[in-house]
């Protein structure tokens, strides 16, 4: 245990050298990045009806309907 603590603390003592934190992601979790079916998003995304995308879609439909009426 003492050896582990020393190693970890040694690693921890290095930040003075100007390291930048990074977002560690365990390889044993679901990988980040694209999915076979979900594409570039890497996930199937469900949005509530008041989302920005939903409002934009509704606005687009209204505009299109108005153009067709003209």
């Amino acid at each position: 245990m003492r050896r582990a603590a020393i190693l970890v603390l040694l690693a921890a003592a290095l930040p003075g050298c100007g390291a930048v934190p990074f977002d560690y992601h365990s390889q044993n979790d679901i990988p980040r990045g694209p999915g076979m079916f979900s594409g570039a998003d890497g996930a199937f995304v469900f949005r509530t009806k008041d989302s920005d995308e939903w409002r934009e879609f509704q606005e687009w439909k209204r505009r299109k309907a108005a153009e067709e009426r003209r």
Partner: protein, 352 residues
């Protein structure tokens, strides 16, 4: 237990409703993976092939979402379950497909995050979970500190065929208290450091954990991830179950990488130790590594178990990995003689 889960599910549902109401635009993501392999096991008496779910990273799916709850506070949820048919850590010659598949909880977690850190509530990682498993090798899908994830239920056999202890009983990585129903707090990141603390209930025990986590990117000198943790579980009438340990992994930009982990578990009269070493190399879409694990006194005083394995992982496309693993484990026990366990496994993980 069922009542507690019901309450938790009700809390999750209430929180989801609250989130949906409070947030301007709630977005929930569904993702998952299928992780399968073919395992050949040889215990010196029997040998056979098994179609398994790779317990290094099991077949699972998750829902997750996060939104602004109020100025400065972000709220989120994580719901993840696994579904394993013939888990690689569960199959044996006597039971070639393990327990019948079922949905097993992994995360049912609510998160609240702001400038003062992150609060997690529900079923999820204890503060130190994963603290002996940090690994930048790129071969975690094939092998990492959790040695029993592949072949953990196979027993060592005497030359006469008698059964000894299982691999998982003598060579556990002793990764603290894993996941349980808890409250957890993580401090904000400071120069790559954060402290995490959690308290909760696991089975019938009261659990407390604390851990220090670190990540640092040193540019040309590579990346380091490290963790140091401590856990304590109190079960009425039993001695405290205390684990201390940590791990560190370094990845050079050129691809060379090294990992070290160590834990010590004090459980009344027994005092189990675990040490893990790994060296690897990553290039393009390939990664190779060799690891060596030692477990002392985990199942009985005087036990000395170790395993050596080599692995290769190929990532042809971002959502697919293919791997091969060869592993041999041995157990020295005073007054007894056991044959080695040998495993060969090939498999794949596809993220959908």
């Amino acid at each position: 237990m069922i009542r507690r889960k019901t309450l938790l599910a009700a809390s999750l549902a209430a929180a989801l409703t609250a989130l949906a109401t409070a947030a301007q635009a709630l977005e929930v993501k569904l993702s998952g993976q299928v992780s399968r392999g073919v395992l050949h096991a040889d215990d010196g008496v029997n040998d056979d092939a098994f179609h398994v779910d790779n317990d290094n990273s099991s077949t699972r799916f998750r829902f997750e979402g996060a939104e602004q709850l109020m100025p400065g506070i972000r709220a989120g949820l994580l719901f993840e379950v696994e579904y394993q048919s013939a888990p690689s850590n569960d199959v044996t010659f006597a039971d070639r497909d393990g327990a019948p598949p079922s949905l097993n909880e992994r995360y049912m977690d609510l998160l609240f995050e702001g400038r003062y850190g992150k609060l997690s509530l529900g079923q999820g990682d204890g503060a130190a979970n994963g603290g002996v498993e940090v690994d930048l090798s790129g071969t975690g899908i094939a092998h990492y500190a959790d040695v029993p994830a592949v072949g953990g239920a196979f027993a060592f056999r005497t030359p006469g065929g008698a059964f000894g202890p299982e691999l998982g009983e003598v060579l556990s990585q002793q990764d603290f208290e894993s996941r349980y129903d808890r409250v957890r707090y993580d401090t904000p990141l400071y120069r790559g450091f954060r402290v995490a603390a959690s308290t909760g209930v696991k089975d019938t025990g009261d659990v407390r954990e604390v851990a220090l986590w670190y990540t640092g990117n040193y540019g040309n000198q590579g990346q380091i991830v490290a963790a140091l943790g401590m856990s304590n579980e109190k079960v009425g009438g039993s001695p405290d179950d205390e684990t201390t340990g940590g791990s560190v992994s370094w990845l050079h930009p050129g691809g060379l990488n090294f990992t070290f982990g160590h834990t010590r578990r004090d459980l009344g009269p027994s005092d189990g130790k675990f040490t893990y070493l790994k060296a690897g190399y990553k290039w393009d879409r390939h990664a190779v590594s060799a690891d060596y694990a030692m477990g002392d006194d985990q199942n009985a005083a005087g036990d000395e178990a170790n395993s050596f394995s080599i692995a290769y992982v190929f990532t042809p496309i971002a959502w697919a990995e293919v791997f091969a693993l060869v592993k041999q484990a041995e157990l020295d026990r005073p007054g007894a003689s056991f044959d080695d366990l040998t495993f060969v496994m090939v498999g794949t993980r596809l993220k959908f």
